[in-house]
């Protein structure tokens, strides 16, 4: 107990925002807390040696491998001090060795960048989704997605700026189904008080940190009175501790209707797993599509970055037409997480300049650029900034 409060007081000095909650586990986003001296918390040390970070890279399926190779290319070109440990996961195998190796690698390095691992419908139901296994094993409880309208992208609605925080480990994705009577399947949706409090806490903390004014909880508590009712109750409890932030709630079907007619009304949204999946896809569609939005999965000790809408993009794989924006922006989020802010901003600005000023767009945005042309343009802009770069 004494050691615990010593860590809390250390964290309060280092980072006043995170240290404010007594009795909660100290929140660590990846490797930010410096208390590796305190062994009782078992915070893994950062995978950093000689000033270079090691990050796990999981290529995944579909467009994952090619997009991640572009990330590696841009990083190498910009002399980013990150080395990638590549771990392949074969989605066609039933054995869990591959995904276990990937999870171990992420535990070792603390941070990962991944493409989506395909979950084939043809595999037996006992075979769990690899992506889901990864998220639950590492307890990456918060999925964060920031949807912003980009000036260079034509969309029906403008001025969208929504942060979506989705509970990432339970809910409808608990993979608990049974068929006690043939032809009658029961599927369990799990909502726990602790996970709901945790995600609500995360949402409000993030809202405060980013200076956002309003948090909206999305639910269906009128039908799922106990499940979503509990979630909503937990959100309300947490909200009472943040009087500076407005809290309201909205039923999920009304939410989707509001999103497609007046998306500007939303600020920060927090919700259980399935609604998060639906709402994030709607928002991704609103700002221009799956090729644009990066996503991050945060846990207490680990962070995994990927595209927000998690699709394998099989139909566009291998044709050099996929949009590299989402994956590149995800890699910038990762650099921010590693505190390599200069590199993050350098690459991010180059990506956004290509998108908004040069307006070199791939096919999904109605343009004619190939993936490699867009990446080349990004690297040219990086080079023009005068920082140290390798040869193209």
């Amino acid at each position: 107990m004494a050691a615990h409060s010593a860590v809390l007081s250390v964290s309060r000095i280092i980072n006043p925002i995170w240290g404010r909650h007594l009795g909660n586990t100290v929140k660590v986003f990846g490797t930010t807390l410096t208390s590796h001296r305190n062994k009782t918390l078992h915070v893994p040390p950062p995978a950093k040696y000689g000033g270079r970070h090691t990050v796990t890279l999981i290529p995944g399926d579909g467009i994952g491998p090619e997009l991640l190779s572009h990330v590696v290319e841009v990083f190498r070109f910009s002399c980013v001090p990150v080395d990638f440990e590549v771990v392949h996961v074969n989605s066609a195998l039933e054995a869990e060795d591959d995904i276990d190796n990937a999870i171990t690698a992420i535990r070792r390095n603390g941070v990962a960048l991944k493409g989506n691992i395909e979950t084939k419908h043809t595999m037996p139901p006992s075979m769990k989704s690899r992506n889901n296994l990864l998220r639950t094993s590492l307890d990456l409880y918060a999925n964060v997605m920031h949807c912003q309208s980009l000036p260079g992208v034509q969309t029906r609605h403008r001025n969208i700026d929504i942060m979506i925080i989705r509970e990432n480990t339970e809910g409808e994705y608990s993979s608990l189904e049974h068929e006690s009577v043939s032809g009658v399947v029961e599927c369990l949706k799990i909502i726990t008080r602790s996970n709901s409090l945790r995600i609500a806490e995360y949402a409000f903390q993030l809202a405060r940190e980013k200076g956002r004014r309003r948090v909206t909880a999305v639910h269906k508590a009128n039908i799922m009175k106990l499940g979503d009712g509990l979630f909503l109750q937990c959100c309300r409890e947490v909200a009472s501790g943040y009087p500076d932030i407005t809290f309201d709630s909205m039923i999920v079907d009304n939410t989707t209707m509001q999103l497609v007619s007046k998306p500007q009304q939303f600020d920060v949204m927090v919700m259980p797993n399935l609604y998060g999946n639906v709402v994030s896809n709607v928002c991704a569609g609103l700002v221009g599509g799956p090729g644009l939005v990066p996503g991050a999965n945060y846990g207490r000790d680990y962070a995994v970055f990927e595209t927000a809408t998690r699709n394998t993009g099989k139909s566009v794989a291998g044709k050099n037409i996929a949009n590299p924006t989402a994956m590149l922006l995800a890699s910038c989020m990762m650099l921010d997480h590693l505190k390599l802010y200069n590199y993050a901003n350098l690459i991010r600005n180059a990506v956004l300049t290509t998108m908004n000023e040069t307006r070199l767009h791939t096919a999904d945005l109605g343009g004619q650029g190939t993936t490699s042309e867009v990446v080349q343009s990004i690297m040219r802009i990086i080079q023009s900034k005068g920082q140290l770069t390798a040869d193209i």
């Binding site: 079907d253 497609v260 399935l274 639906v278 896809n281 709607v282 699709n311």
Partner: protein, 146 residues
């Protein structure tokens, strides 16, 4: 003909995204309860909202209840301001269900033409006509179509 039908399974999130980006790619969608709840409201938002969205609940042996999906709107009840389109089109669905296709087609055409012409519209559609005026206009068109 049944042979011309094509069915494609599509995940809910992919569908919602596709719906936002290009809803014209979809024709008929069938799904379980919760997804239907979400998607039907999403689509209602795409076509102009709850004031214009009809629905029907079909059971066995032809038993069916047709209803608009909007609520009771107590704030405008009794003031001759409401948009009757949703309930009217639900009525049209009912007529089709009963096999009264000609009547259904006539009323639907009259209703759509009235909205298209934009001269007599209720407040939620951007006009300032009363509910009764809107209805009278539709009735006039129905008579002209007879």
């Amino acid at each position: 003909p049944a042979g011309a039908l094509r069915s494609t399974p599509s995940s809910t999130p992919g569908t919602t995204r596709g719906m936002v980006q290009d809803p014209t790619q979809f024709d008929v969608l069938v799904m379980p309860n919760l997804y239907g709840d979400i998607l039907s409201d999403l689509c209602a938002g795409l076509i102009g909202g709850l004031g214009v969205t009809p629905s029907g609940n079909i059971g066995a042996n032809g038993v069916a209840i047709f209803e608009s999906v909007h609520g009771t709107a107590p704030d405008i009840a009794g003031l001759d301001l409401a948009n009757p389109t949703a309930l009217l089109l639900s009525g049209v669905m009912m007529l089709r269900h009963m096999g009264l296709h000609q009547y259904a087609a006539k009323i639907q055409t009259a209703c759509f033409d009235t909205i298209k012409e934009k001269k007599v519209l209720t407040k939620d559609l951007g006009g300032n006509s009363k509910c009764s005026e809107f209805t009278t206009e539709i009735c006039r068109r129905v008579q002209d179509l007879a």
